[in-house]
Protein backbone atom coordinates (compact mmCIF):
# COMPACT_ATOMS: atom_id res chain seq x y z
CA UNK A 1 0.00 0.00 0.00
CA UNK A 2 1.21 3.52 -0.70
CA UNK A 3 1.13 6.15 2.01
CA UNK A 4 -1.92 7.91 0.53
CA UNK A 5 -3.88 4.69 0.80
CA UNK A 6 -2.74 4.18 4.36
CA UNK A 7 -3.76 7.69 5.33
CA UNK A 8 -7.15 7.09 3.76
CA UNK A 9 -7.62 3.95 5.85
CA UNK A 10 -6.40 5.72 8.97
CA UNK A 11 -8.94 8.46 8.45
CA UNK A 12 -11.73 5.93 8.03
CA UNK A 13 -10.60 4.11 11.18
CA UNK A 14 -10.49 7.41 13.06
CA UNK A 15 -14.05 8.13 11.99
CA UNK A 16 -15.06 4.58 13.01
CA UNK A 17 -13.65 5.32 16.46
CA UNK A 18 -15.62 8.57 16.62
CA UNK A 19 -18.71 6.59 15.65
CA UNK A 20 -18.12 4.17 18.50
CA UNK A 21 -17.78 7.06 20.96
CA UNK A 22 -20.85 8.86 19.57
CA UNK A 23 -22.83 5.61 19.73
CA UNK A 24 -21.91 4.57 23.25
CA UNK A 25 -22.21 8.12 24.55
CA UNK A 26 -25.71 8.52 23.18
CA UNK A 27 -26.68 5.05 24.34
CA UNK A 28 -25.24 5.75 27.79
CA UNK A 29 -24.00 2.14 27.59
CA UNK A 30 -22.06 -0.19 25.34
CA UNK A 31 -18.51 -1.32 24.87
CA UNK A 32 -16.03 1.34 23.79
CA UNK A 33 -12.84 -0.55 24.72
CA UNK A 34 -13.14 -3.46 22.30
CA UNK A 35 -14.78 -1.28 19.65
CA UNK A 36 -11.71 0.91 19.58
CA UNK A 37 -9.24 -1.98 19.59
CA UNK A 38 -10.89 -3.63 16.58
CA UNK A 39 -11.60 -0.45 14.57
CA UNK A 40 -8.55 -0.77 12.30
CA UNK A 41 -9.36 -4.41 11.59
CA UNK A 42 -12.96 -3.60 10.62
CA UNK A 43 -11.78 -0.71 8.48
CA UNK A 44 -9.23 -2.81 6.63
CA UNK A 45 -11.72 -5.63 6.07
CA UNK A 46 -14.51 -3.46 4.64
CA UNK A 47 -12.44 -0.95 2.71
CA UNK A 48 -9.64 -3.14 1.43
CA UNK A 49 -10.12 -6.85 1.89
CA UNK A 50 -13.71 -7.90 1.50
CA UNK A 51 -15.77 -8.17 -1.65
CA UNK A 52 -19.02 -6.55 -0.50
CA UNK A 53 -21.43 -4.04 -1.98
CA UNK A 54 -23.77 -2.05 0.23
CA UNK A 55 -26.24 -1.64 -2.63
CA UNK A 56 -26.56 -5.45 -2.80
CA UNK A 57 -26.12 -6.58 0.81
CA UNK A 58 -27.59 -10.06 0.27
CA UNK A 59 -25.59 -10.97 -2.82
CA UNK A 60 -24.97 -14.73 -2.46
CA UNK A 61 -21.43 -14.37 -3.81
CA UNK A 62 -20.34 -11.69 -1.34
CA UNK A 63 -17.68 -12.25 1.28
CA UNK A 64 -19.15 -12.76 4.75
CA UNK A 65 -18.24 -11.19 8.04
CA UNK A 66 -19.23 -12.42 11.49
CA UNK A 67 -18.43 -10.31 14.53
CA UNK A 68 -18.13 -13.12 17.04
CA UNK A 69 -17.20 -10.60 19.74
CA UNK A 70 -20.53 -8.95 19.06
CA UNK A 71 -20.15 -6.33 21.79
CA UNK A 72 -17.59 -4.50 19.63
CA UNK A 73 -20.35 -3.59 17.18
CA UNK A 74 -20.35 0.22 17.68
CA UNK A 75 -17.25 0.68 15.52
CA UNK A 76 -18.43 -2.01 13.10
CA UNK A 77 -21.69 -0.09 12.70
CA UNK A 78 -19.68 3.05 11.99
CA UNK A 79 -17.70 1.21 9.31
CA UNK A 80 -20.89 -0.19 7.76
CA UNK A 81 -22.36 3.31 7.75
CA UNK A 82 -19.28 4.73 6.02
CA UNK A 83 -19.53 1.86 3.54
CA UNK A 84 -23.07 3.00 2.74
CA UNK A 85 -25.27 0.39 4.39
CA UNK A 86 -27.15 3.01 6.44
CA UNK A 87 -26.72 6.66 7.51
CA UNK A 88 -23.95 7.43 9.98
CA UNK A 89 -26.51 9.26 12.12
CA UNK A 90 -28.07 5.93 13.06
CA UNK A 91 -25.24 5.64 15.60
CA UNK A 92 -26.89 8.36 17.67
CA UNK A 93 -29.80 6.04 18.36
CA UNK A 94 -27.66 2.98 19.10
CA UNK A 95 -29.34 0.83 21.77
CA UNK A 96 -32.43 3.07 21.87
CA UNK A 97 -35.92 1.59 21.94
CA UNK A 98 -37.13 0.99 18.41
CA UNK A 99 -33.76 1.82 16.86
CA UNK A 100 -32.19 -0.23 14.11
CA UNK A 101 -28.82 -0.63 15.80
CA UNK A 102 -29.09 -3.17 18.59
CA UNK A 103 -26.67 -3.58 21.47
CA UNK A 104 -25.31 -6.65 19.72
CA UNK A 105 -25.46 -7.37 15.96
CA UNK A 106 -28.87 -8.36 14.58
CA UNK A 107 -28.82 -9.78 11.06
CA UNK A 108 -32.58 -9.42 10.69
CA UNK A 109 -32.71 -5.72 11.38
CA UNK A 110 -29.40 -4.26 10.24
CA UNK A 111 -28.25 -4.23 6.61
CA UNK A 112 -24.69 -5.46 6.25
CA UNK A 113 -24.81 -7.69 9.32
CA UNK A 114 -24.38 -11.25 8.08
CA UNK A 115 -24.96 -13.00 11.40
CA UNK A 116 -26.56 -12.18 14.71
CA UNK A 117 -23.97 -12.53 17.42
CA UNK A 118 -23.05 -11.49 20.89
CA UNK A 119 -23.08 -14.67 22.89
CA UNK A 120 -19.36 -15.39 22.81
CA UNK A 121 -18.10 -18.44 20.96
CA UNK A 122 -21.07 -18.78 18.66
CA UNK A 123 -20.15 -16.43 15.85
CA UNK A 124 -16.99 -18.34 14.96
CA UNK A 125 -19.04 -21.52 14.55
CA UNK A 126 -21.56 -19.73 12.35
CA UNK A 127 -18.65 -18.48 10.25
CA UNK A 128 -17.56 -22.12 9.88
CA UNK A 129 -21.03 -22.98 8.61
CA UNK A 130 -20.89 -20.14 6.09
CA UNK A 131 -17.48 -21.28 4.87
CA UNK A 132 -18.71 -24.87 4.61
CA UNK A 133 -21.71 -23.69 2.58
CA UNK A 134 -19.39 -21.79 0.24
CA UNK A 135 -17.29 -24.90 -0.34
CA UNK A 136 -20.40 -26.97 -0.94
CA UNK A 137 -21.69 -24.53 -3.53
CA UNK A 138 -18.31 -24.15 -5.20
CA UNK A 139 -18.39 -20.42 -4.52
CA UNK A 140 -15.26 -18.37 -4.17
CA UNK A 141 -16.43 -16.08 -1.39
CA UNK A 142 -14.41 -15.86 1.80
CA UNK A 143 -15.59 -15.71 5.40
CA UNK A 144 -14.02 -13.52 8.05
CA UNK A 145 -14.72 -13.54 11.76
CA UNK A 146 -13.34 -11.31 14.50
CA UNK A 147 -13.20 -12.76 17.99
CA UNK A 148 -11.78 -11.55 21.24
CA UNK A 149 -8.85 -12.94 23.16
CA UNK A 150 -11.06 -13.27 26.22
CA UNK A 151 -13.57 -15.02 23.97
CA UNK A 152 -10.98 -17.73 23.37
CA UNK A 153 -11.78 -18.94 26.89
CA UNK A 154 -15.08 -20.23 25.49
CA UNK A 155 -14.83 -23.94 24.70
CA UNK A 156 -16.92 -23.44 21.58
CA UNK A 157 -14.10 -21.43 19.97
CA UNK A 158 -12.01 -24.60 20.05
CA UNK A 159 -14.89 -26.78 18.93
CA UNK A 160 -15.19 -24.47 15.93
CA UNK A 161 -11.44 -24.57 15.37
CA UNK A 162 -11.52 -28.37 15.20
CA UNK A 163 -14.40 -28.21 12.74
CA UNK A 164 -12.73 -25.58 10.54
CA UNK A 165 -9.54 -27.54 10.34
CA UNK A 166 -11.22 -30.94 9.89
CA UNK A 167 -13.19 -29.63 6.92
CA UNK A 168 -10.14 -27.79 5.52
CA UNK A 169 -11.97 -24.46 5.41
CA UNK A 170 -9.26 -22.43 3.72
CA UNK A 171 -11.90 -19.86 2.77
CA UNK A 172 -12.19 -18.96 6.46
CA UNK A 173 -10.12 -16.47 8.42
CA UNK A 174 -10.27 -15.87 12.17
CA UNK A 175 -8.95 -12.53 13.39
CA UNK A 176 -8.27 -12.45 17.11
CA UNK A 177 -8.49 -8.94 18.51
CA UNK A 178 -5.83 -9.60 21.13
CA UNK A 179 -6.11 -6.55 23.36
CA UNK A 180 -5.12 -8.46 26.49
CA UNK A 181 -8.04 -7.31 28.61
CA UNK A 182 -11.44 -8.66 29.51
CA UNK A 183 -14.15 -7.49 31.90
CA UNK A 184 -12.50 -8.81 35.04
CA UNK A 185 -9.00 -7.63 34.17
CA UNK A 186 -5.94 -8.91 32.32
CA UNK A 187 -6.72 -11.99 30.24
CA UNK A 188 -3.58 -13.59 31.60
CA UNK A 189 -4.79 -13.04 35.17
CA UNK A 190 -8.38 -14.13 34.60
CA UNK A 191 -7.80 -17.40 32.73
CA UNK A 192 -4.54 -17.16 30.81
CA UNK A 193 -4.50 -18.13 27.15
CA UNK A 194 -0.83 -18.87 27.27
CA UNK A 195 0.48 -19.64 23.78
CA UNK A 196 -2.45 -18.68 21.61
CA UNK A 197 -0.62 -18.85 18.28
CA UNK A 198 0.72 -22.30 19.07
CA UNK A 199 -2.74 -23.36 20.17
CA UNK A 200 -4.27 -22.39 16.83
CA UNK A 201 -1.38 -24.08 15.04
CA UNK A 202 -1.97 -27.24 17.04
CA UNK A 203 -5.62 -27.06 15.98
CA UNK A 204 -4.50 -27.09 12.35
CA UNK A 205 -4.58 -23.39 11.46
CA UNK A 206 -2.14 -21.34 9.49
CA UNK A 207 -1.24 -18.41 11.74
CA UNK A 208 0.46 -15.08 11.87
CA UNK A 209 0.89 -12.60 14.68
CA UNK A 210 0.76 -8.91 13.81
CA UNK A 211 0.22 -5.44 15.14
CA UNK A 212 -3.52 -5.06 14.62
CA UNK A 213 -3.24 -1.28 14.22
CA UNK A 214 -0.70 -1.39 11.38
CA UNK A 215 -2.36 -1.44 7.96
CA UNK A 216 0.74 -2.77 6.20
CA UNK A 217 0.86 -5.68 8.60
CA UNK A 218 -2.88 -6.25 8.21
CA UNK A 219 -2.46 -6.31 4.43
CA UNK A 220 0.39 -8.81 4.58
CA UNK A 221 -1.55 -10.99 7.03
CA UNK A 222 -4.71 -11.09 4.91
CA UNK A 223 -2.64 -11.84 1.82
CA UNK A 224 -1.00 -14.69 3.69
CA UNK A 225 -4.43 -15.94 4.80
CA UNK A 226 -5.69 -15.96 1.23
CA UNK A 227 -2.73 -17.93 -0.03
CA UNK A 228 -2.99 -20.51 2.77
CA UNK A 229 -4.46 -23.66 1.24
CA UNK A 230 -6.29 -26.63 2.78
CA UNK A 231 -6.51 -25.13 6.22
CA UNK A 232 -8.16 -22.20 7.95
CA UNK A 233 -6.14 -19.19 8.98
CA UNK A 234 -5.90 -17.26 12.23
CA UNK A 235 -4.52 -13.73 12.40
CA UNK A 236 -3.54 -12.90 15.94
CA UNK A 237 -3.80 -9.14 15.94
CA UNK A 238 -2.14 -7.55 18.94
CA UNK A 239 -4.15 -4.47 19.74
CA UNK A 240 -4.63 -1.84 22.41
CA UNK A 241 -7.97 -1.83 24.15
CA UNK A 242 -9.44 1.65 23.93
CA UNK A 243 -6.99 2.59 21.14
CA UNK A 244 -7.20 6.22 20.06
CA UNK A 245 -8.67 7.68 23.24
CA UNK A 246 -5.86 8.30 25.71
CA UNK A 247 -7.74 7.71 28.95
CA UNK A 248 -9.40 4.55 27.62
CA UNK A 249 -6.24 2.88 26.40
CA UNK A 250 -5.26 -0.35 28.19
CA UNK A 251 -7.98 0.06 30.80
CA UNK A 252 -10.18 -2.99 31.46
CA UNK A 253 -12.61 -0.59 33.13
CA UNK A 254 -13.51 0.77 29.68
CA UNK A 255 -14.73 -2.62 28.47
CA UNK A 256 -18.39 -1.91 28.96
CA UNK A 257 -18.83 1.64 30.22
CA UNK A 258 -20.03 4.64 28.22
CA UNK A 259 -18.26 8.00 28.42
CA UNK A 260 -20.00 10.75 30.40
CA UNK A 261 -20.39 14.30 29.03
CA UNK A 262 -16.90 15.36 30.03
CA UNK A 263 -15.25 12.18 28.81
CA UNK A 264 -17.22 12.34 25.58
CA UNK A 265 -15.96 15.83 24.87
CA UNK A 266 -12.38 14.86 25.60
CA UNK A 267 -12.56 11.66 23.53
CA UNK A 268 -14.07 13.49 20.56
CA UNK A 269 -11.49 16.28 20.87
CA UNK A 270 -8.67 13.72 20.77
CA UNK A 271 -10.16 11.93 17.77
CA UNK A 272 -10.81 15.23 15.98
CA UNK A 273 -7.19 16.19 16.58
CA UNK A 274 -6.04 12.88 15.14
CA UNK A 275 -8.24 13.47 12.10
CA UNK A 276 -6.77 16.95 11.58
CA UNK A 277 -3.27 15.48 11.76
CA UNK A 278 -4.19 12.89 9.13
CA UNK A 279 -5.69 15.59 6.91
CA UNK A 280 -2.50 17.58 7.20
CA UNK A 281 -0.46 14.52 6.27
CA UNK A 282 -2.75 13.92 3.34
CA UNK A 283 -2.29 17.46 2.07
Amino acid sequence: MNSAEIIKLKKLACKARSGAIIGTYNAKSGHPGGSLSAADIFTYLYFKEMNVDSSDPKNPDRDRFVLSKGHACPSLYAVLAMKGYFPFDELKSLRHVGAMLQGHPDMKGTPGIDMSSGSLGQGVSAACGMAAAGKLDGKSYRVYTVLGDGECEEGQVWESAMFASHYKLDNLCYIIDYNGLQIDGNVEDVAGLNKLKEKFEAFGFGTVEINGHDFNELEAAFNQARSCKDKPFAIIAKTVKGKGVSFMENQAGWHGVAPNDEQYKQAMAELDAQMSELEKEEA
Binding site: R64, M107, S119, S125, A126, E159, M162
Partner: protein, 316 residues
Protein backbone atom coordinates in the same frame (compact mmCIF):
# COMPACT_ATOMS: atom_id res chain seq x y z
CA UNK B 1 -56.70 -51.50 7.64
CA UNK B 2 -53.30 -50.32 6.54
CA UNK B 3 -50.22 -52.44 6.94
CA UNK B 4 -48.60 -52.01 10.36
CA UNK B 5 -45.00 -50.94 10.19
CA UNK B 6 -42.88 -51.53 13.26
CA UNK B 7 -40.21 -48.85 13.18
CA UNK B 8 -38.57 -46.31 15.42
CA UNK B 9 -39.42 -42.77 14.34
CA UNK B 10 -35.68 -42.01 14.14
CA UNK B 11 -35.46 -44.63 11.40
CA UNK B 12 -38.37 -43.05 9.55
CA UNK B 13 -36.63 -39.69 9.95
CA UNK B 14 -33.46 -41.06 8.34
CA UNK B 15 -35.46 -42.51 5.45
CA UNK B 16 -37.39 -39.29 4.87
CA UNK B 17 -34.26 -37.17 4.95
CA UNK B 18 -32.61 -39.37 2.29
CA UNK B 19 -35.69 -39.29 0.11
CA UNK B 20 -36.09 -35.52 0.31
CA UNK B 21 -32.35 -35.03 -0.14
CA UNK B 22 -32.60 -36.52 -3.63
CA UNK B 23 -34.65 -33.66 -4.97
CA UNK B 24 -33.70 -30.83 -2.63
CA UNK B 25 -29.97 -30.27 -2.93
CA UNK B 26 -30.04 -27.60 -0.23
CA UNK B 27 -30.70 -30.17 2.47
CA UNK B 28 -27.60 -30.89 4.53
CA UNK B 29 -27.23 -32.95 7.69
CA UNK B 30 -25.05 -32.51 10.74
CA UNK B 31 -24.45 -34.87 13.59
CA UNK B 32 -22.42 -35.01 16.78
CA UNK B 33 -20.99 -38.53 16.67
CA UNK B 34 -24.38 -40.23 16.93
CA UNK B 35 -25.20 -40.63 13.26
CA UNK B 36 -25.78 -44.38 13.59
CA UNK B 37 -28.33 -43.72 16.34
CA UNK B 38 -30.05 -40.63 14.97
CA UNK B 39 -30.00 -42.25 11.50
CA UNK B 40 -28.38 -39.32 9.76
CA UNK B 41 -25.82 -41.98 8.75
CA UNK B 42 -28.32 -42.95 6.05
CA UNK B 43 -28.09 -39.44 4.64
CA UNK B 44 -24.32 -39.49 4.95
CA UNK B 45 -24.17 -42.67 2.89
CA UNK B 46 -26.38 -41.20 0.19
CA UNK B 47 -24.91 -37.69 0.15
CA UNK B 48 -21.46 -37.75 1.77
CA UNK B 49 -20.60 -34.22 0.63
CA UNK B 50 -23.68 -32.81 2.30
CA UNK B 51 -23.06 -34.42 5.67
CA UNK B 52 -20.99 -32.86 8.45
CA UNK B 53 -20.00 -34.93 11.42
CA UNK B 54 -19.12 -32.30 14.01
CA UNK B 55 -17.78 -34.72 16.56
CA UNK B 56 -18.95 -34.58 20.16
CA UNK B 57 -19.49 -30.82 20.14
CA UNK B 58 -23.19 -30.05 20.00
CA UNK B 59 -22.91 -26.33 20.65
CA UNK B 60 -20.62 -25.85 17.67
CA UNK B 61 -22.86 -28.07 15.55
CA UNK B 62 -25.90 -25.88 16.13
CA UNK B 63 -24.07 -22.64 15.36
CA UNK B 64 -22.45 -24.20 12.27
CA UNK B 65 -25.95 -25.19 11.16
CA UNK B 66 -26.99 -21.56 11.65
CA UNK B 67 -24.15 -20.42 9.38
CA UNK B 68 -25.14 -22.97 6.74
CA UNK B 69 -28.74 -21.76 6.93
CA UNK B 70 -27.61 -18.14 6.61
CA UNK B 71 -26.14 -19.19 3.25
CA UNK B 72 -29.31 -20.83 1.99
CA UNK B 73 -28.86 -24.42 3.15
CA UNK B 74 -31.56 -26.38 4.96
CA UNK B 75 -29.56 -28.00 7.74
CA UNK B 76 -30.85 -30.86 9.87
CA UNK B 77 -28.72 -31.00 13.01
CA UNK B 78 -29.19 -34.22 14.92
CA UNK B 79 -28.16 -35.56 18.29
CA UNK B 80 -29.87 -37.08 21.28
CA UNK B 81 -32.68 -34.81 22.48
CA UNK B 82 -30.78 -34.35 25.73
CA UNK B 83 -27.70 -32.87 24.09
CA UNK B 84 -29.34 -31.22 21.09
CA UNK B 85 -31.74 -29.17 23.20
CA UNK B 86 -30.05 -29.28 26.60
CA UNK B 87 -26.34 -28.88 25.96
CA UNK B 88 -26.91 -26.62 22.98
CA UNK B 89 -29.92 -24.71 24.31
CA UNK B 90 -28.22 -21.35 24.25
CA UNK B 91 -26.81 -21.90 20.78
CA UNK B 92 -30.31 -22.73 19.60
CA UNK B 93 -31.63 -19.60 21.27
CA UNK B 94 -29.04 -17.15 20.05
CA UNK B 95 -27.68 -18.61 16.80
CA UNK B 96 -30.92 -20.09 15.46
CA UNK B 97 -34.12 -18.81 17.06
CA UNK B 98 -33.18 -15.14 17.52
CA UNK B 99 -32.18 -14.65 13.86
CA UNK B 100 -35.03 -17.01 12.84
CA UNK B 101 -32.71 -19.15 10.74
CA UNK B 102 -33.95 -22.14 8.80
CA UNK B 103 -32.36 -24.81 10.99
CA UNK B 104 -34.08 -28.09 11.79
CA UNK B 105 -33.02 -29.66 15.07
CA UNK B 106 -33.64 -33.38 15.35
CA UNK B 107 -33.61 -34.66 18.92
CA UNK B 108 -33.51 -38.41 19.00
CA UNK B 109 -33.80 -40.84 21.93
CA UNK B 110 -36.27 -38.47 23.53
CA UNK B 111 -38.16 -39.36 26.67
CA UNK B 112 -37.70 -42.30 29.03
CA UNK B 113 -37.98 -44.87 26.24
CA UNK B 114 -34.24 -44.45 25.72
CA UNK B 115 -34.37 -47.23 28.30
CA UNK B 116 -31.24 -48.79 29.71
CA UNK B 117 -28.96 -45.73 29.40
CA UNK B 118 -30.87 -44.20 32.27
CA UNK B 119 -31.64 -40.72 33.53
CA UNK B 120 -28.64 -38.84 32.07
CA UNK B 121 -29.86 -39.70 28.56
CA UNK B 122 -33.61 -39.70 29.13
CA UNK B 123 -34.60 -36.20 28.09
CA UNK B 124 -38.08 -35.33 29.32
CA UNK B 125 -37.52 -31.58 29.16
CA UNK B 126 -36.75 -30.96 25.48
CA UNK B 127 -40.22 -29.80 24.51
CA UNK B 128 -40.34 -27.46 27.50
CA UNK B 129 -36.98 -25.95 26.57
CA UNK B 130 -37.84 -25.49 22.90
CA UNK B 131 -41.28 -24.12 23.67
CA UNK B 132 -39.85 -21.08 25.43
CA UNK B 133 -38.07 -19.93 22.28
CA UNK B 134 -39.93 -17.35 20.18
CA UNK B 135 -40.63 -18.63 16.69
CA UNK B 136 -39.67 -22.24 17.35
CA UNK B 137 -41.93 -24.87 15.79
CA UNK B 138 -42.09 -28.17 17.66
CA UNK B 139 -43.16 -31.42 16.01
CA UNK B 140 -43.46 -34.72 17.84
CA UNK B 141 -44.54 -37.40 15.36
CA UNK B 142 -46.34 -40.50 16.57
CA UNK B 143 -45.49 -43.16 14.03
CA UNK B 144 -43.62 -43.97 10.86
CA UNK B 145 -46.09 -42.35 8.48
CA UNK B 146 -46.41 -39.21 10.50
CA UNK B 147 -42.64 -38.83 10.72
CA UNK B 148 -42.27 -39.07 6.94
CA UNK B 149 -44.76 -36.24 6.51
CA UNK B 150 -43.30 -34.21 9.38
CA UNK B 151 -39.83 -34.20 7.85
CA UNK B 152 -41.31 -33.14 4.53
CA UNK B 153 -43.29 -30.35 6.20
CA UNK B 154 -40.15 -29.22 8.05
CA UNK B 155 -38.32 -28.83 4.76
CA UNK B 156 -41.20 -26.92 3.19
CA UNK B 157 -41.50 -24.58 6.17
CA UNK B 158 -38.94 -21.78 6.33
CA UNK B 159 -37.88 -21.30 9.94
CA UNK B 160 -36.51 -23.09 12.97
CA UNK B 161 -38.07 -26.46 13.79
CA UNK B 162 -37.50 -28.92 16.60
CA UNK B 163 -38.33 -32.45 15.56
CA UNK B 164 -38.59 -35.10 18.27
CA UNK B 165 -37.47 -38.63 17.42
CA UNK B 166 -37.85 -41.83 19.41
CA UNK B 167 -35.42 -44.67 19.88
CA UNK B 168 -37.97 -47.42 20.46
CA UNK B 169 -39.50 -49.27 17.51
CA UNK B 170 -43.26 -48.67 17.58
CA UNK B 171 -46.15 -49.99 15.51
CA UNK B 172 -47.70 -47.58 13.07
CA UNK B 173 -51.40 -46.83 13.40
CA UNK B 174 -51.94 -44.19 10.73
CA UNK B 175 -53.15 -45.24 7.29
CA UNK B 176 -50.92 -43.59 4.70
CA UNK B 177 -53.75 -43.60 2.15
CA UNK B 178 -55.99 -41.56 4.42
CA UNK B 179 -53.41 -39.53 6.29
CA UNK B 180 -52.72 -35.89 5.84
CA UNK B 181 -50.29 -33.78 7.84
CA UNK B 182 -50.84 -30.07 8.29
CA UNK B 183 -48.31 -28.21 10.39
CA UNK B 184 -50.02 -26.82 13.47
CA UNK B 185 -53.18 -28.89 13.09
CA UNK B 186 -54.22 -31.67 15.45
CA UNK B 187 -55.88 -34.84 14.21
CA UNK B 188 -59.00 -36.38 15.72
CA UNK B 189 -58.28 -40.09 15.72
CA UNK B 190 -61.43 -41.17 17.48
CA UNK B 191 -64.70 -39.39 18.17
CA UNK B 192 -66.12 -39.29 21.66
CA UNK B 193 -68.41 -37.22 23.85
CA UNK B 194 -67.67 -38.03 27.52
CA UNK B 195 -64.08 -36.91 27.72
CA UNK B 196 -61.13 -36.06 25.44
CA UNK B 197 -57.70 -37.61 25.47
CA UNK B 198 -55.02 -35.47 23.83
CA UNK B 199 -51.77 -37.29 23.17
CA UNK B 200 -48.49 -36.67 21.39
CA UNK B 201 -45.61 -38.75 20.09
CA UNK B 202 -45.07 -42.46 20.33
CA UNK B 203 -47.63 -42.87 23.13
CA UNK B 204 -50.51 -41.82 20.86
CA UNK B 205 -50.91 -45.44 19.87
CA UNK B 206 -51.31 -46.49 23.52
CA UNK B 207 -53.88 -43.76 23.95
CA UNK B 208 -55.71 -45.03 20.86
CA UNK B 209 -55.83 -48.57 22.25
CA UNK B 210 -57.04 -47.16 25.56
CA UNK B 211 -59.96 -45.22 24.04
CA UNK B 212 -60.99 -48.25 22.00
CA UNK B 213 -61.00 -50.34 25.17
CA UNK B 214 -62.98 -47.64 26.99
CA UNK B 215 -65.54 -47.64 24.20
CA UNK B 216 -66.12 -51.33 24.82
CA UNK B 217 -66.73 -50.43 28.48
CA UNK B 218 -69.29 -47.80 27.48
CA UNK B 219 -67.09 -44.72 27.88
CA UNK B 220 -67.04 -42.45 24.88
CA UNK B 221 -63.59 -40.86 24.82
CA UNK B 222 -62.42 -38.62 22.01
CA UNK B 223 -58.78 -38.92 20.98
CA UNK B 224 -56.76 -36.08 19.48
CA UNK B 225 -53.24 -36.51 18.19
CA UNK B 226 -51.21 -33.32 18.55
CA UNK B 227 -48.09 -33.72 16.41
CA UNK B 228 -47.33 -29.99 16.36
CA UNK B 229 -46.95 -28.84 19.94
CA UNK B 230 -46.01 -25.32 18.88
CA UNK B 231 -47.84 -23.58 17.39
CA UNK B 232 -50.62 -25.58 19.00
CA UNK B 233 -54.02 -26.17 17.40
CA UNK B 234 -56.21 -24.07 19.71
CA UNK B 235 -59.39 -24.71 17.75
CA UNK B 236 -59.37 -28.47 18.12
CA UNK B 237 -58.68 -28.16 21.87
CA UNK B 238 -61.37 -25.55 22.50
CA UNK B 239 -63.89 -27.57 20.50
CA UNK B 240 -63.09 -30.66 22.59
CA UNK B 241 -63.27 -28.70 25.83
CA UNK B 242 -66.69 -27.35 24.88
CA UNK B 243 -68.07 -30.65 23.67
CA UNK B 244 -66.64 -33.13 26.16
CA UNK B 245 -65.61 -31.01 29.12
CA UNK B 246 -62.82 -32.96 30.73
CA UNK B 247 -59.43 -33.49 29.09
CA UNK B 248 -56.62 -35.94 29.78
CA UNK B 249 -53.23 -35.30 28.18
CA UNK B 250 -50.70 -38.04 27.50
CA UNK B 251 -47.04 -37.43 26.73
CA UNK B 252 -43.65 -39.03 27.19
CA UNK B 253 -42.29 -35.78 28.63
CA UNK B 254 -42.35 -33.88 31.86
CA UNK B 255 -45.82 -32.65 32.77
CA UNK B 256 -44.05 -29.34 33.35
CA UNK B 257 -43.73 -27.48 30.09
CA UNK B 258 -45.00 -30.19 27.81
CA UNK B 259 -48.19 -30.90 25.88
CA UNK B 260 -50.27 -30.91 29.06
CA UNK B 261 -49.20 -27.39 29.90
CA UNK B 262 -49.87 -26.19 26.35
CA UNK B 263 -53.37 -27.67 26.46
CA UNK B 264 -54.01 -26.19 29.92
CA UNK B 265 -52.84 -22.84 28.66
CA UNK B 266 -55.37 -22.96 25.84
CA UNK B 267 -58.25 -24.14 28.01
CA UNK B 268 -57.57 -21.73 30.85
CA UNK B 269 -57.66 -18.82 28.42
CA UNK B 270 -60.45 -19.90 26.12
CA UNK B 271 -62.60 -22.58 27.75
CA UNK B 272 -61.68 -23.64 31.29
CA UNK B 273 -62.13 -27.34 31.93
CA UNK B 274 -60.39 -29.84 34.16
CA UNK B 275 -57.14 -31.07 32.58
CA UNK B 276 -55.40 -34.16 33.95
CA UNK B 277 -51.83 -34.71 32.81
CA UNK B 278 -50.31 -38.13 32.28
CA UNK B 279 -46.56 -37.86 31.79
CA UNK B 280 -43.34 -37.73 33.74
CA UNK B 281 -44.32 -36.22 37.09
CA UNK B 282 -41.44 -33.84 37.88
CA UNK B 283 -38.85 -36.54 38.37
CA UNK B 284 -35.91 -38.23 36.69
CA UNK B 285 -36.07 -41.62 35.05
CA UNK B 286 -33.79 -44.62 35.60
CA UNK B 287 -32.37 -47.58 33.73
CA UNK B 288 -34.51 -50.41 32.46
CA UNK B 289 -36.06 -51.80 29.30
CA UNK B 290 -38.03 -49.07 27.50
CA UNK B 291 -41.37 -50.83 27.52
CA UNK B 292 -41.16 -51.57 31.23
CA UNK B 293 -40.26 -47.96 31.96
CA UNK B 294 -43.17 -46.62 29.91
CA UNK B 295 -45.47 -48.84 31.97
CA UNK B 296 -43.86 -47.79 35.26
CA UNK B 297 -44.29 -44.12 34.36
CA UNK B 298 -47.96 -44.59 33.56
CA UNK B 299 -47.59 -44.44 29.80
CA UNK B 300 -49.45 -47.68 29.07
CA UNK B 301 -52.87 -48.19 27.56
CA UNK B 302 -53.97 -49.78 30.84
CA UNK B 303 -53.05 -46.73 32.91
CA UNK B 304 -54.43 -44.26 30.37
CA UNK B 305 -57.71 -46.20 30.33
CA UNK B 306 -57.81 -46.32 34.12
CA UNK B 307 -57.15 -42.60 34.57
CA UNK B 308 -59.81 -41.71 32.01
CA UNK B 309 -62.35 -44.14 33.37
CA UNK B 310 -61.77 -42.99 36.98
CA UNK B 311 -62.41 -39.37 35.98
CA UNK B 312 -65.54 -40.18 34.02
CA UNK B 313 -66.92 -42.43 36.77
CA UNK B 314 -66.11 -39.98 39.55
CA UNK B 315 -67.89 -37.16 37.78
CA UNK B 316 -70.87 -39.03 36.43
Amino acid sequence: MAEIINKATRESFGMALCELGKTNKNIVALDADLSGSTKTAMFQKAFPDRFFNCGIAEGNMISVAAGLAACGKIPFAASFAMFATGRAYEQIRNSVAYPGLNVKIAGSHAGISVGEDGATHQCCEDIALMKTLPGMTIINPADHWEMLEAVKASVEYNGPVYLRLGRLAVDSFNDPDNYSFTLGKGITLHEGSDITVIATGIVVKDALEAVLELEAQGISARLINIHTIKPIDEDIIVKAAKETGRIVTVEEHSVIGGLGDSVSDVTSRLCPVKVTKIGIQDRFGYSGPAKELLKLFGLSKENIAKVVSDIVKAEK
